[in-house]
């Protein structure tokens, strides 16, 4: 112990801040008196803050109408630093942290990142301001839960909700589901689909009836891609979700806590999905370019109508369900697969996976605290969430109507037609889409009730919107789905939705040994999975499965799985606890 401390001490001066960060961090918490954030910030000195924003998709100074709203209220500009846009993975985070200064406002993952930032002294204790942060105090349970074991208030929750944790957090569509080209399915006479494998003959019939798309290219029932492969082959990770299973790394767990096993278990839903692809490929249903194309190419195939099945609404529907196609009754809709219990994530009473924090070197922490607090106010939530089904600022995109809130003419054009609509000058000008908040994370869940209107923030729940959203496609679908108006409604009323209570569980950090093994195992699983899906025959499929299990075991799969199973169970316990407390 002594010797390595000595090494650290020796090189410390040369390495400068490399070692310094920790020292500044362990300073004693100041028992400063409460500082009120309650003042008119619009008269304060102009200020530009660096926002280190993990989820952001935009890098640079926030512009447009959201910038105007923030400027008017806080006389503040936001300089967004977006690691996802900057590129290089965690590089930006690691280097800035090593330099001792991450940003004035920090949005990072809770758990590992937030904890080390607090420990290293990169986040500020906001206790002095917390008392006067009226809006966020409404979620005090979540704030306290988040800062448990820390000697202050360092982090604030995101997407926090007052809904029950057993209510779905998604909007009107779940994240997963067997979405088919409904028009071809209708042509085939709405055949019954008992279980996953029953999709194959149905898809075969649909593909045979329409061997070519409008652009003259062949159609395939399914088309896959590899860009997002991680612990497992992403595309084979989706069918399990139709049965309420989720993957906690290599553990496959049913979200109601009734079943746990490894993904490589011969009986796992994951292997079943691989077999499903294998059989589909034998039947000629799989696009042979699946192995080599990227997401863009695959997306373009969906756009051109060359693919008939999508596991996600946000793939098939967002590519193909254009106004034009839907008016002709064409588009993707969820299929009535009889035994499905689609996985859904419940509303998080303790907040989602990200946190807001104030950088320890922030120039004007009180103002940033005030800004954070504003993000939980009705006005803040409405304005800050324009890109995720949020309605935008009141008065611009929506107004109070006779039956609750309704989109204005400008709002309909701006939100529903691509966002190129020019914003009036008094709101800051520019295209509506470009002026949306670049923070890309909301303080409060969009499904929560807006106290100003009595309806959810998400405009898709508004009666005024739903009335106008119907078209030949959804009408036909609704007719054959027992009159359901939305996918969520159908799944809920048929008891085909399995909501995993929102417990805000974060998996603990792996030890370095486990992490290294995990990284090697996942590479081998992904590689073998693809080969299995495209195996020549049954014998090869089985041989590859055996080889995958053997190689994975050789690389330490079982040890890693043990950790993952424990994590999956811990997650379930947390869910049960939260469901008992708030359910």
């Amino acid at each position: 112990m002594r010797s390595h401390k000595a090494i650290a001490m020796m090189v410390a001066p040369l390495l400068g801040i490399l070692s310094l960060a920790a020292c500044t961090g362990s300073g004693t918490p100041e028992d400063a008196e409460a500082v009120s954030i309650d003042q008119d910030w619009s008269k304060a000195e102009p200020l530009t803050i660096d926002v280190f924003d993990g989820p952001a998709n935009y890098q640079g100074i926030q512009g447009g109408w959201f910038a105007k709203v923030v400027k008017d209220k806080f006389n503040m500009e936001l300089n967004i630093l977006a690691p996802a846009v900057a590129g290089g993975g965690d590089t930006l985070y690691n280097t800035r942290v090593a330099g001792g200064e991450l940003g004035d406002l920090v949005i990072v993952g809770k758990g590992k990142q937030a904890d080390e930032l607090v420990e290293g002294g990169l986040l500020l204790d906001a206790s002095p301001y917390y008392e006067s942060m009226k809006n966020v105090s409404a979620y005090d349970t979540a704030v306290q839960y988040l800062n448990e074991g820390k000697d202050g208030v360092y982090t604030f929750p995101t997407v926090v909700s007052s809904l029950k944790p057993t209510e779905p957090s998604e909007g009107v569509d779940p994240t997963f589901g067997p979405y088919l080209r409904w028009d071809y399915y209708a042509e085939a006479g709405y055949p019954e689909i008992g279980t996953l494998e029953d999709l194959l003959p149905v898809l075969k019939e649909m593909q045979d009836a329409h061997p070519k798309a409008d652009n003259g290219k062949p159609t395939y029932a399914m088309s896959l891609f590899k860009d997002w492969d991680g612990n497992v082959m992403t595309m084979a990770g989706q069918p399990p979700a139709l049965y309420g299973y989720e993957h906690v790394a290599f553990a496959e767990a049913k979200a109601d806590g009734s079943d746990y096993h490894g993904v490589l278990d011969p009986e796992s839903q994951y292997v079943r999905a691989l077999k499903f692809y294998y059989e589909a490929n034998q039947m000629g249903l799989v696009d042979p370019e699946s192995t080599t194309q990227n997401y863009d190419t695959m997306f373009a195939k969906y756009q051109a109508g060359q693919v008939l099945l999508s596991w996600w609404p946000w793939l098939g529907q967002s590519a193909y369900n254009t106004e034009q196609n839907m008016a002709k009754g064409k588009g993707f809709q969820i299929a009535p697969m009889q035994d499905q219990t689609v996985l859904s994530r419940g509303a998080d009473v303790y907040g989602g996976g990200l946190i807001f924090g104030i950088g320890s070197k922030a120039e004007d922490p009180a103002r940033i605290a005030a800004f954070i607090d504003w993000l939980y106010s009705p006005e803040g939530v409405e304005s800050n969430s324009s890109d995720n089904a949020g309605a935008g600022p009141k008065g611009l995109t929506w107004e109070d109507g006779p039956d609750g809130p309704e989109l204005t003419d400008f709002g309909r054009k701006a939100i529903l037609e691509g966002g190129d609509e020019e914003v009036p000058a008094e709101w800051g000008g520019g295209a509506y889409r470009d002026g949306g908040s670049a923070l890309n994370v909301s303080g409060v869940l969009q499904n929560d009730e807006d106290p100003r209107t009595g309806y959810p923030y998400n405009y898709k729940f508004w009666p005024s919107y739903q009335e106008t959203a119907a078209n030949p496609l959804t009408e036909d679908w609704s007719e054959h789905m027992g009159g359901a108006t939305t996918t969520m409604e159908y799944l809920q009323s048929n008891d085909q939705l399995l909501v995993a209570p929102g417990a805000s569980f974060t998996t603990p950090t792996d030890s370095s040994e486990i992490e290294t093994m995990r990284n090697q195992v996942k590479a081998t699983i992904v590689e073998h999975s693809w080969k299995m899906a495209f195996a020549k025959d049954e014998a090869e499929f089985e041989a590859l499965l055996a080889e995958m299990q053997e190689t994975a075991n050789g690389l330490g799969y079982e040890k890693v799985l043990e950790v993952d199973l424990a994590n999956a169970k811990a997650q379930n316990e947390a869910r049960e606890a939260v469901a008992n407390e708030f359910g």
Partner: protein, 292 residues
């Protein structure tokens, strides 16, 4: 004398040598937020973890085989830019030569991601090559060019030659321009023809540059980069396409553990230096003068 180069040596020291102190993080489980003092000291753990199981050793063996194979193929073809420059120099039409030179350097500026897109457009199952062959009745089943385990090393070599040949020839074109013209004149007086001039004057005059570059490339045998292999890899060719840099990336050593990444790059740096010194010693013995 020394004083005039000192400012430059200071730059080298500050930007290249001083940061090497960071290598000490290879002995820690380094977390930037906590600093070195707050990170756990783990000794040689990161070096041991690399070789901790038999399956792992097998994988690393295959990875090293790929790495060396591709590096040696690269070295074996390293004379091509020399010939390219010599032959281009024989082209008498200036505009033709300049046009060729410009066009052949273009691939160097196109990122591998885009190269793969073009490759996909041409060689995928519904790509240009397969459709053409099919239309001509030469094949009935599309050929798998991109997702096959056949000839991966050679295919990769072809792509990197295509991309780098014209660019790599620039240095030799400059070297040719620098050849003392009186050498040619006296050779011509002795009655040498075009091919003899190329063989006995141009080629030997390019050798010093070539040998230096050869030694440099021997030292970087382990560094093939990963971009090219990353964009072309898929489950079906991974066994033979995975070079060291890509392997390190694929198993996420670079992303998740800073100390692991440091340990690896430290190891690679030391091996490269050893190779450099060895190659230089061999060259010295063979040619009488030290290159580096």
């Amino acid at each position: 004398m020394f004083l005039v180069v000192l400012p430059f040596l200071v730059l080298v020291f500050v930007f290249s040598y001083l940061p090497l102190l960071g290598w000490v993080t290879a002995l820690y489980d380094y977390k930037p937020a906590l600093g070195l003092g707050g990170s756990e000291f783990v000794g040689l753990q990161w070096f041991e973890i690399l070789v901790s199981s038999e399956t792992q050793l097998q994988q690393i063996g295959q990875v090293l085989a790929n790495t060396l194979a591709m590096s040696f193929l690269g070295i074996a073809t390293s004379l091509l830019p020399v010939f390219f420059a010599m032959l281009l120099n024989e082209v008498r039409s200036t505009w033709f030569r300049n046009t060729v030179q410009t066009l052949t350097t273009l691939p160097n500026f196109i990122s591998w991601v885009l190269v793969y897109m073009i490759a996909f457009s041409l060689f995928s199952t519904s790509g240009l090559v397969n459709t053409t062959l099919h239309d001509w009745g030469l094949i009935t089943v599309p050929m798998k060019f991109l997702d096959t385990d056949q000839h991966v090393w050679l295919t990769m070599l072809a792509w990197s030659l295509w991309k780098g040949l014209g660019w790599g020839a620039i240095m030799y074109l400059a070297a040719i321009a620098g050849i003392d013209q009186s050498l040619y004149e006296s050779a011509r007086i002795d009655g040498a023809n075009r091919f003899q001039l190329m063989r006995y004057i141009t080629f030997p005059q390019l050798m010093p540059t070539y040998v230096v570059l050869l030694i440099l490339s021997i030292a970087s045998i382990l560094n093939n980069g990963m971009e090219q292999y990353f964009v072309f890899q898929n489950a079906f060719n991974r066994e033979h396409i995975q070079v060291l840099d890509l392997y390190v990336y694929n198993i996420g050593m670079t992303g998740n553990s800073l100390s692991m990444a440091t340990a690896l790059s430290m190891l690679k740096s030391l091996i490269s230096l050893a190779l450099l010194i060895a190659a230089n010693a061999i060259a010295k013995r063979a040619r009488g003068t030290s290159i580096i």
